[in-house]
Symmetry: C2
Subunit: 166 residues, 2 copies
DNA sequence: TTAATATTTCAATAAATCCTGAAAGTTTAA
DNA sequence: TTAAACTTTCAGGATTTATTGAAATATTAA
């Protein structure tokens, strides 16, 4: 396969993947493009390569920066801004996990707590509360598990072990 | 809070959550409704409680059955079909993980493999291949980690330990 | 076998989401 | 201070995705 073709396919693939996980396709494609570019790209580079408008490129770049997946890369003597992506995929995964935890899991846990404040105590209410508690428990444990994964490398002992496998 | 209100909010919450994760809102709401119902529900129950059409209810119920999250519950002497959800949330999580692995992660891994077949060998091509390999590696490891989690309870030794924490 | 009851399908429509492009805003070189 | 270069915003339009509802198909009681 030609490199150009492979890059093109990768961008498509990453975009399709994203849209299945609640990330908009273009944002994922912009991310893909930056992931496989050795050089930083300007907004215009991205517009050209993905055939998208300036507004769209700008919006998605900003959102990628909010997720800490992409940075501005100011070049000396250049007026334009350039962008580059974090290339370490493990780091990328951690940042996505961190962000989704913050944006979705933590509010979810808070809402679940509120829902157990039901002021009835018949069989039906008890069953409801139990289901909600059960969900609360599982979600909380998963949240904690993700934290452990994220932080494991910062831990002296486990960090060393994990690095051996990378 | 009143039970009715709490149930209503739970359904909303679960629906919003789903739509952020690539699952359509109504499907998640139908799931929520079944999760918190002690009794199995008929298509009409679901239509009424969520104010959705017959076609929509039917489609989403079928999809939930494809995911193994909901079953038909045939009642003796009843012509209608009733539906009930798997209530063990850990089991629910495992089934979702299993299904998404099968539908998305495994095809992704296969596609990534193909993309490293680039018939150029300059610096740019090498960098591209390295990025793709890096992604391949991380995705594969995560896939394996999820498998371990799913299977851990089937393991005599770890299974016992895990059950202690549940 | 019939007719009543249930379920499924799918074309048309509605709703949600995303993208465009031009105008407004900002920055910087001179 | 000006004007060119660049970035951001956002209303309107385009696209994608979800929903309706009625017709077709299937099932069952009698």
């Amino acid at each position: 396969m030609k490199l150009t073709e492979a890059k093109e396919q990768f961008t498509q693939l990453w975009g399709a993947l994203g849209s299945g996980w609640g990330i908009n396709r273009t944002m994922a494609q912009v991310h893909a493009l930056l992931l496989i570019s050795e050089e930083s790209l300007s907004t215009e580079d991205i517009m050209t390569q993905l055939s998208i408008s300036r507004g769209n490129a700008n919006m998605n770049l900003r959102e990628l920066m909010n997720w800490n997946l992409v940075y501005k890369d100011i070049k000396a003597g250049e007026r334009k801004e350039f962008f580059k992506a974090e290339k370490d995929i493990w780091e990328v995964a951690k940042r996505i996990a961190r962000e989704r935890k913050r944006r979705e899991i933590q509010p979810l846990i808070a809402s679940l707590n509120v829902l157990t404040d039901v002021d009835e105590s018949n069989k039906e209410a008890k069953s409801f509360i139990q289901t909600v508690n059960n969900i609360h428990q599982v979600v909380t444990k998963m949240d904690a598990a993700v934290d452990t994964l994220i932080k494991v490398e910062e831990n002296k002992f486990f960090g060393t072990i994990v690095k051996m496998f990378k």
